[in-house]
C-alpha cells in the first residue's frame, strides 16, 4: 500500500481506496485476511480510529467482512464488485473528461475515434 | 493503597540504612575507642539521631516521588506523619532499652537526661518507666517534626534561596542573642523573672509526689505536645505549597 499524504483526500478515504485497489488487483485475494487496523496504523503511523473508519467504509460496501475473533477478510465476489463499480465510474471519470478536453482542442468525434484506434494499434 | 506502599517503601529503606549505619559506627567505635558496651550503644544512638534528622529534611525528593505517583500533597503529609511516627517509635525503643539496661546493670546510673531530671516523680517505678517511654516518644517526635518542618521550609527554596534563608536565620539568632544579652547585662533586665515560666514549662524545681528533687514530666510533656501541634500545622501548610521546579 502506498499513501500520498499530500493528496486533498481525507486519510480515511485514502485508506479505503488503497485497500480497494489491492482487492481490485488481486493483491488481497478473496476469502483471505487483510492486515488488521492496528497493523496498518502502526506501519504508517496513522490514528487507528482513522484506519477503522476507512475499513468500515468497505465493510459497508460489502467488500470486507469482520469475523469475530479472527480478523477482517475480503468477501467473496469483492473483486468483481470493484470492477463493476469502476466500470461505472470509468464513464464519468475518463470518458466525459476526454470529451470535455477534446472540445477544448476542437477535436470532433471522428478525430477521437481515430486517436483511440491509433492508441490500440501502438499497443 | 498508594500511601501505604510509599510508607512501607520508606520505612524499609530507612531500617535498612539504619542497620548498616549502626553496624559501621558500632564497629568503628569498638575498634578505635574500645568503648564499653553501653557507651558504645549510646554513641550509636546519637548517630541514629543525626542520620534520621538529616534524612528527615529531604523533602523535595519525597515530594517528587509522591506527586509522580499520583499522591496528592495531603497524602504526602499523611505519609510523612506515619513514617516519622514509626521512625520515632523505633528510635525510642532503642534508646529506652539502652537506658533500661544501663539502669539495671549499672546500678541506677545512666546517661539519660530523663532519668536524671524526672525519674522518681511517680511512686511506682513501673509507672516511672512508662512515663519515661512516653516522654521519650514525645520528645523524639517533637525533634523529628521540628527538623522536618525546617527541612520542608528550606525545600521550598532553590539553592540560592536556601543560602539566603540560612544566613537570615543565622543573623536573626545572633541578633537575638546579642540583644538579649544587652538587655540582661547592660540594662539589668534581671527584674523580669523568667524562672517561674521556665519551671512551668519544664516542670523542674517543683515539689513532687515521689519525694526527692525530681521534676514533673507532665509539664514538659504538655509543652512539647503543644509545640508539636503548632509545628504539625505549619508543616501541613508548607507541604501544601510544594511545586515542581523545572
Amino acid at each position: 500500500m502506498q499513501f500520498d499524504f499530500q493528496s486533498p483526500e481525507p486519510i480515511f478515504l485514502q485508506v479505503s481506496n488503497q485497500i480497494e485497489d489491492a482487492i481490485f488487483t488481486g493483491a488481497f485475494k478473496e476469502g483471505t485476511q487483510i492486515p488488521s487496523t492496528t497493523e496498518i496504523s502502526k506501519t504508517f503511523q496513522i490514528n487507528p480510529a482513522t484506519v477503522l473508519k476507512g475499513m468500515n467504509l468497505l465493510v459497508n460496501n460489502n467488500l470486507l467482512e469482520k469475523q469475530r475473533g479472527r480478523g477482517t477478510f475480503v468477501t467473496y465476489g469483492a473483486q468483481q464488485r470493484v470492477i463493476n463499480e469502476r466500470r461505472e465510474h470509468f464513464y464519468h471519470d475518463y470518458i466525459l473528461n476526454l470529451i470535455n478536453e477534446s472540445k477544448k482542442l476542437h477535436l470532433s468525434k471522428d478525430d477521437i475515434l481515430e486517436l483511440i484506434k491509433r492508441g490500440y494499434d501502438n499497443g | 493503597m498508594k500511601e501505604l506502599d510509599l510508607y512501607k517503601n520508606l520505612i524499609k529503606r530507612y531500617l535498612f540504612y539504619l542497620l548498616i549505619f549502626s553496624c559501621v559506627f558500632g564497629l568503628m567505635n569498638l575498634i578505635f575507642n574500645h568503648s564499653p558496651l553501653f557507651s558504645l550503644l549510646h554513641s550509636i544512638s546519637y548517630y541514629l539521631y543525626g542520620y534520621t534528622v538529616a534524612l528527615v529534611t529531604l523533602n523535595y525528593y519525597l515530594f517528587n516521588l509522591s506527586i509522580s505517583s499520583g499522591i496528592s500533597r495531603n497524602g504526602l503529609y499523611r505519609v510523612k506523619l506515619y513514617s516519622l511516627s514509626t521512625i520515632t517509635f523505633f528510635i525510642n525503643i532503642f534508646i529506652f532499652s539502652i537506658n533500661l539496661f544501663s539502669y539495671i546493670l549499672n546500678n541506677k546510673q545512666t546517661d539519660s537526661i530523663y532519668m536524671n531530671l524526672y525519674f522518681g516523680f511517680f511512686n511506682n517505678n513501673i509507672i516511672n518507666f512508662i512515663s519515661m517511654f512516653i516522654i521519650g516518644f514525645i520528645t523524639i517526635f517533637f525533634i523529628m517534626i521540628l527538623f522536618n518542618t525546617l527541612g520542608t521550609f528550606l525545600s521550598l527554596f532553590n539553592v540560592l534561596g536556601k543560602i539566603i534563608t540560612f544566613f537570615v536565620i543565622y543573623a536573626m539568632i545572633h541578633i537575638g542573642l546579642i540583644s538579649f544579652s544587652i538587655y540582661y547585662f547592660v540594662f539589668g533586665f534581671k527584674n523580669i523573672n523568667l524562672q517561674p515560666t521556665f519551671d512551668l514549662i519544664t516542670g523542674l524545681n517543683t515539689s513532687t509526689a515521689g519525694g526527692g528533687n525530681t521534676g514533673n514530666p507532665i509539664s514538659i510533656a504538655i509543652t512539647l505536645i503543644l509545640f508539636t501541634c503548632l509545628l504539625l500545622f505549619i508543616n501541613y501548610k508548607l507541604t501544601k505549597k510544594f511545586q515542581i521546579r523545572k
Binding site: 502502526k42 490514528n47 | 506502599d5 506527586i67 511545586q243
Partner: protein
C-alpha cells in the same frame, strides 16, 4: 474518565505580571490522541504540569469528570505526566525504579514493561544518571505506557531517540492505545511525525490557545494555493489567509476555510496544507499579538 476540562486557566511568571498562560479554556475527551503544539516557551509544559498538579495556576481550575484535580488523590491517580524533569532518584538502577512505580500503581502492566525493555534494548541494571538522553526518555516512555491511568501526557517523548527507537515508540503507542483505549496528549516539536497519528490538535502560542479542533476538520479546511501571483491573489481574495510565500512571479497562499465556489483558474494549483505547515503559519501569524 469522561473528560478533562480546563477553565479560565491563568498562570503568571514567577516574578512579574507577565502571564505564561492566559485564560486557557480547553477540554480533553476520552480515548483520543491529542497533539499539543507550540513553540518553545509557549506554555505547553506549564499547562501539562498544572493539569498533573505539579504546579499551581494563578487562577482557574482543572476538572476531571467535574472534580477539581488539585490535591485530589482520586483524580490524580488517573493522570500521568511524562515530563522532562527527573522525578525518580537519579542514582537508582532502572529496575529498582520500575519496581517502585509498580508498587505505586495497582494494575501496572508488567508484561508490557518487560516486552518494551526488550524491544528498546534498555539496560535495566544501569543507573538512571548513567543513561544517555535517549534512554532516559525510553525509561520514562515505558513507565508512561504501563501505568493504568486514563489520561497520559507525554512531553517531548522522542527527545534524544534515534530513528529506530522513535519508530518502535510510535508502534508501541498505537498498539497500547488499541489494546487499552485511553487519552494521550503528546507535546512535540517534530509535528510531522505525529500529524497523522493525532485525532485532535491543540495549539498554544504566547500562552493562548490559537487552535483547538479535530485533525479531520483542520485537514478539510487548510489549503495551499499556488500559481502566478495575480491569479492566486484574486482567488484567495476575501478568504482567511494565514500565510504567503513568493518566488518570483509565483506565489503560494495558505488559507483556512472552505474553498470559494468559483472555478480554479488554470495554472493555479490547490493542495492540502500539511499540519506542519499550517502550524508554522499560525504561529507566525500570531507573532504580532
Amino acid at each position: 474518565m469522561d473528560k478533562l476540562e480546563i477553565k479560565n486557566l491563568n498562570r503568571n511568571f514567577k516574578f512579574g505580571k507577565q502571564k505564561v498562560l492566559k485564560n486557557i479554556n480547553v477540554s480533553f475527551l476520552s480515548n483520543k490522541i491529542y497533539g499539543l503544539f507550540g513553540e518553545n516557551g509557549a506554555g505547553k509544559s506549564t499547562l501539562m504540569s498544572i493539569i498533573a498538579d505539579y504546579n499551581f495556576p494563578t487562577s482557574g481550575e482543572v476538572l476531571l469528570d467535574g472534580e477539581n484535580v488539585h490535591d485530589n488523590d482520586n483524580a490524580l491517580s488517573k493522570i500521568y505526566y511524562m515530563n522532562q524533569n527527573n522525578m525518580y532518584p537519579k542514582n537508582e538502577k532502572v529496575a529498582k525504579t520500575f519496581k517502585f512505580v509498580q508498587s505505586m500503581y495497582e494494575g501496572y502492566d508488567v508484561n508490557l514493561q518487560n516486552k518494551l525493555v526488550k524491544e528498546f534494548q534498555l539496560n535495566t541494571k544501569s543507573r538512571f544518571n548513567k543513561l544517555s538522553t535517549g534512554y532516559k526518555s525510553i525509561m520514562k516512555i515505558i513507565i508512561a505506557l504501563c501505568v493504568p491511568c486514563e489520561f497520559i501526557m507525554l512531553d517531548e517523548p522522542t527527545l534524544g531517540l534515534d530513528a529506530r527507537n522513535r519508530d518502535i515508540f510510535y508502534r508501541e503507542l498505537i498498539e497500547s492505545y488499541t489494546d487499552h483505549p485511553r487519552t494521550f496528549v503528546i507535546s512535540t516539536h517534530i509535528i510531522e511525525e505525529i500529524d497523522k497519528l493525532v485525532s485532535d490538535v491543540v495549539m498554544i502560542n504566547n500562552g493562548k490557545i490559537i487552535l483547538n479542533d479535530s485533525a479531520d476538520n483542520i485537514r478539510s479546511k487548510a489549503y495551499s494555493i499556488n500559481g502566478p501571483a495575480d491569479l492566486v491573489d484574486e482567488y484567495v481574495h476575501g478568504l482567511d489567509i494565514i500565510g504567503k510565500e513568493s518566488l518570483g512571479q509565483y506565489e503560494t497562499g495558505h488559507i483556512m476555510g472552505r474553498l470559494p465556489e468559483k472555478e480554479i483558474p488554470s495554472g493555479v494549483e490547490v493542495n492540502k496544507m500539511e499540519l506542519q505547515k499550517l502550524i508554522v503559519n499560525l504561529m507566525d501569524r500570531s507573532e504580532g499579538d
